[in-house]
Amino acid sequence: MQDKKILLMPLMIMLALSISGVAFSTWSDNVKIRGTVEMGTLTIAIDYDETPLCQEFYRDPDNGQLMPGEYCGKNVGSCNISREDLITDPHTGKMGYKKVVWTINNAYPSYYCSYINFKIRNIGNVAAHIVEVIVTGYDNTDKEELGLRWDVPYREGAFTNDVDGDRENEDIINIEIGKLICEQIDPCTWYKTEIDLHFKQEAEECHTYTFEIVVIAIEWISAGP
């Protein structure tokens, strides 16, 4: 019985091999699809060509209009804007900056300072859609976060702080940002707006305030209708 089983095993193997052989011997052919996907880049940056500018203003008591410069032609406050973090988009080869550094010196109540050409360029090759503007402020002198109150979300508001210790925040710097949310920037195009600061009477002498504005864009197709 044992001998019969041993005899059957090579037969089974031979049968299996012969079946395989029939299969391989069938004529065959095929076609292929060779795919290559080059992904785009979503890259927004501060414009490379246009130098950022800041402008001082004062409110003319005669007519309430904002006038360029400082009251009575004096030169008291000063502002300076520079760009940092130069990048080059790897696909398009276009350049831009990721950061703008805005420094205001010797500010005083009723001083107006504007970043008049906040120009964001799409240096990638995917359309960008701005979805969020994150604004934060900090009082470096007192080592505390500044509050932020929006009157018009992401557009008009004020940095606030409890200056007089009454546990209620007072407005110290008004901030106005031109429309950003929902703006779409197609590749090779740009969007320009401005950011305005107005210092209030409650802003404290000799203090140093810092603030950060982060503009976030996503691919336009994910932004929804």
Binding site: V76, N106, Y111
Partner: protein
């Protein structure tokens, strides 16, 4: 069994949703701002002179005037730092009618913002202050202090500066009010305080007076009225 299946489905959906959110491409740009606020400090810098009418007369130097500065504040923006004082104390002892005393002091803007003097308030304990002298622009430089009870004159006070000779075609410098005076950062000006005792001042009495000089940032001075807007030196 059904519960386990439900949990699994929820987990799958949650992951799928998370996956969608993470898979959004995004990019950002940043504005980083720093604001250094200025400093507003105006005060007395030093006393240049403190003298009286009987100093030159030996044997008749009966009254004494003493001037000192109090309430110091040091500006952090100056290099080297500058200390100014918010209060000028003038004390007269043994005063008598027709006696006068003067104190010459420097008023300084030790801050970083131009200052504009908008108001001078003269008051006295039991006294009534009445403006009685004005400069060419109609701004006060003199006050008479009367006894509030009897109405009798007690003393005269004058507070002024001199218009610089360079601004004049004449040799006599007129007195100018401190009101509407603008003092730019780091600048100082000489101020004269003069007082004389009237005949109707009472013997053995002690009279106290205060003079408050209010300076505000130059760009807000117009809030104090037409006198301060636009500031005379800049008026076209």
């Amino acid at each position: 069994m059904e519960k386990a299946l439900g949990m699994f489905m929820v987990l799958i959906i949650a992951l799928a949703m998370t996956g969608v959110a993470v898979s959004h491409w995004s990019d950002n740009v940043q504005v980083q701002g720093t604001v250094h606020m200025g400093d507003f400090i105006v005060g007395w810098l030093d006393i240049k002179d403190c003298s009286d009418s009987d100093d030159p007369f030996p044997g008749k130097d009966l009254a004494e005037v003493k001037c000192r500065l109090e309430d110091p504040e040091t500006s952090v923006h100056h290099e080297p730092p500058v200390t100014i004082y918010h209060t000028l104390v003038v004390e007269v002892e043994n005063a008598y009618p027709h006696y006068w005393a003067q104190c010459v002091v420097d008023i300084k803007n030790a801050g970083t913002i131009p200052a504009h003097i908008v108001e001078i308030t003269v008051a006295g304990t039991g006294l009534v202050a009445v403006e009685n002298k004005w400069d060419g622009n109609g701004r006060p430089i003199g006050w008479r202090l009367d006894n509030a009870r009897s109405g009798k004159e007690v003393l005269n006070i004058e507070l002024y500066k001199f218009l610089p000779l360079a601004d004049l075609s004449v040799s006599v410098r007129p007195k100018m009010s401190l009101i509407c005076n603008q003092i730019d950062p780091c600048q100082d000006e000489v101020v004269y305080l003069w007082l004389d005792i009237k005949q109707t001042a009472e013997e053995c009495h002690t009279y106290e007076f205060t003079i408050d000089i209010l300076a505000v940032q130059w760009n807000m001075a117009w809030e104090w009225g037409i006198d301060h807007y636009p500031p005379p030196p800049m008026r076209d």
